[in-house]
């Protein structure tokens, strides 16, 4: 396999607040290759968005502090770049779209202004050219009547159209990596499918690396190449999408899959994971999942499970990988 485009190693982020220190990200490892879609999956609050924002370098400090690790983009550690260098990476190299496009767009400027701004600031493009590029971008994401709609404000678009605007904005400067943080969570089901199709289409055309953050397993199956499952600020399992559905290697992943209501299980009680995810101010010792885990034994309470390489592209951090896999 080619060298990864984006290589996140042992990333740590904590929030220092009045209530204490919340360790939102506790040693995340992720790789993203060109043309690949990596789904990052996990219950809400497990640190997906914080990871993404740490990669972008747009966390608010304070309260957030990146306390360790590396974010390598084409071999360069972004965390060590001076801020003005790093700023050039954003939007040019790595771009991001957010869950709620209405609040993510500035309500008092036209979408045309917000698109053109990218060309004017990063490329020094003239006002007229930037306007023209903005129209092209709206065309690219299939917004009808783009010429007229660049003059509209975000609140004048429907939810799906707004997310298209966000996508256009993210792709304006041809980035190599797109991070999409729950891009369809706020949308209707039919619109969700359209947006996912658009993302997949644009990714194929441009051979981008797409990091798709979601807590919706249904979205993942169709589009992702690989999946990284997060729990309490860590990636606990990483695997090609087919393998994970067929044979999960981590007890948490398995529990997640069992919680999906399925047609062939009709009538049976839904198997929801008991208990709550840990508070990140107070992550349990050992394996963070042990209070909720059906496989947990004494060692899980004492020792953090190492990352086991169980197949060429499969990693799982669980003391009882074999048992979970059933081998």
């Amino acid at each position: 396999m080619t060298a990864p485009l984006l290589d996140v190693r042992d990333l740590h982020v904590e929030f220092r607040t009045r209530e204490g220190v919340a360790r939102a990200v506790n040693g995340v490892d992720l790789r993203l290759h060109p043309g690949e879609t990596l789904a990052v999956l996990g219950e809400s609050g497990c640190g997906k968005s914080v990871t993404a924002q740490a990669i972008m370098g747009i966390l608010d400090t304070p309260p957030a502090h990146v306390t360790g690790g590396q974010v390598l983009y084409q071999g360069v550690d972004l965390l060590r770049l001076p801020e003005n260098e790093r700023r050039k990476v954003r939007a040019n190299r790595i771009a991001m779209i957010f869950q709620d496009a209405l609040s993510a767009l500035n309500p008092v400027y036209t979408v045309g202004f917000q698109l053109a701004e990218l060309f004017r600031v990063h490329r020094g493009t003239s006002r007229g050219d930037a306007k023209r590029r903005a129209v092209e971008l709206l065309d690219m994401v299939h917004i009808p009547d783009a010429k007229r709609r660049v003059k509209d404000y975000p609140h004048q678009f429907s939810g799906g159209m707004r997310q298209r605007v966000m996508i256009a904005m993210a792709l304006a400067l041809d980035p190599e990596v797109l991070i999409a943080d729950e891009p369809t969570t706020a949308l209707d089901v039919t619109v969700q499918a359209q947006i996912m199709r658009l993302l997949a289409e644009l990714q194929r055309e441009r051979n981008m690396g797409l990091m798709l953050i979601t807590h919706d397993m249904g979205v993942v199956a169709d589009v992702a190449d690989r999946i990284a499952v997060m729990y309490a600020g860590k990636v606990v399992e990483e695997a090609p999408v087919y393998d994970i559905y067929a044979r999960p290697a981590h007890a948490y992943t398995k529990a997640l899959l069992e919680s999906i209501p399925r047609l062939d299980h009709k009538g049976r009680a839904l198997n929801v994971i008991r208990g709550l995810p840990p508070a990140l101010t107070d992550v349990p010792r050992g394996c963070a999942f042990h209070p909720r885990c059906a496989y947990a034994r004494e060692i899980c309470r004492q020792e953090t499970p190492p990352a086991y390489q169980i197949a060429p592209q499969r990693i799982a951090s669980c003391h009882f990988v074999r048992e979970v896999l059933g081998v």
Binding site: L41, E43, S44, D216, M217, L256, S259, I273, L276, P277
Partner: protein
């Protein structure tokens, strides 16, 4: 399709908003400073003789602009009155007027806000337009007109006139706040539940909606107390407020104005007391609002 978001639910036992707010208040320095100031001023208003044995109306021209002596620690003014005694006694009418005016405004605001928020429809439209009209008149201008008319009786000392003026004109913010608080709590589950159990409008309003809408209202009234103290002083200063045998910080400031070049004390001391009192109520309102509104912590 499974939504993992639904798996995580937040735990935690419910506590009452007021209880939470009090726990929060207790830890605030600002609250305690304000509370102590307010208590001191209140005591001063009720028992001025605890603070001074002198009579503020016992003035001797022979002592005109004299410096501090004995109990008269702030010296004497141009009429030879004890500035300290005048300042201490000035608290009484100020507080009396401000508290009564705030009560009047509170009752009007409460009723108007409750009615507009609860009944809605044309009543709400009418009351809201009326509030808009009231807000179309700068407060002091309306107060001057009304106070001038009410205080035209030469015999009165103006206490009633100023109280009515401030009370009748100052209820708009309170009403607005009450209205929007009622609108939010009206649609909450417990109100719907009470309604289904057959509670009538009166019971719904006063037993269920009011207790849960009251906190922003109280904050507004606290701040209004400060505004009314300033309002009384301003009207008295302009000559349409307290007069005759009334002793007031506003009157004292107005009287001392022309003589500042010879004696600053008679101007400075009532000013300081007035500002400190207003400050106390503003801080109290701020602290209470912050305690009730966890958003900006």
């Amino acid at each position: 399709m499974s939504d993992l978001g639904e798996l995580s639910r937040t735990a935690g036992k419910p506590r009452s908003l007021a209880g939470d707010a009090w726990l929060d208040l207790r830890t605030r320095k600002v609250f305690w400073i304000a509370a102590v100031l307010v208590v001191v001023v209140l005591v001063m208003a009720i028992w001025p003789s605890l603070f001074t044995s002198a009579d503020p109306r016992d003035c001797l021209l022979a002592r005109k602009n004299a410096g501090p002596t004995g109990g008269a620690i702030f010296g004497f003014d141009f009429q030879g009155c004890d500035v300290y005694a005048k300042t201490v006694f000035g608290a009484r009418d100020s507080i009396l007027v401000a508290v009564s005016a705030t009560l009047i405004s509170g009752v009007i605001g409460l009723l108007v806000g409750l009615a507009a928020g609860y009944f809605g429809g044309w009543l709400d439209a009418l009351l809201s337009r009326f509030i808009d009209v009231m807000l179309g008149i700068p407060f002091l201008l309306a107060a001057i007109v009304l106070a001038q008319r009410l205080s035209s009786d030469p015999q009165s000392n103006g206490v009633l006139a100023v109280t009515v003026t401030l009370g009748v004109l100052g209820w708009t913010t309170a009403a607005r706040v009450m209205r929007s608080a009622v609108l939010t709590s009206k649609n909450q589950d417990y109100v719907a539940a009470a309604r289904m159990l057959g509670a009538g409008p009166g019971r719904l309003m006063f037993r269920h909606i009011l207790p849960n809408s009251i906190s922003p209202f109280i904050v507004v009234l606290t701040v209004l107390l400060g505004i009314n103290i300033a309002g009384e002083a301003t009207l008295s200063y302009l000559g349409v407020g307290l007069k005759g045998d009334a002793v007031s910080w506003g009157i004292a400031i107005a009287e001392a104005g022309p003589f500042v070049r010879t004696a600053a004390g008679p101007l400075v001391w009532p000013s300081v007391f007035l500002a400190a009192t207003v400050l106390a109520f503003i801080m109290l309102g701020d602290a209470v609002r912050d305690a009730f509104d966890p958003k900006l912590r």
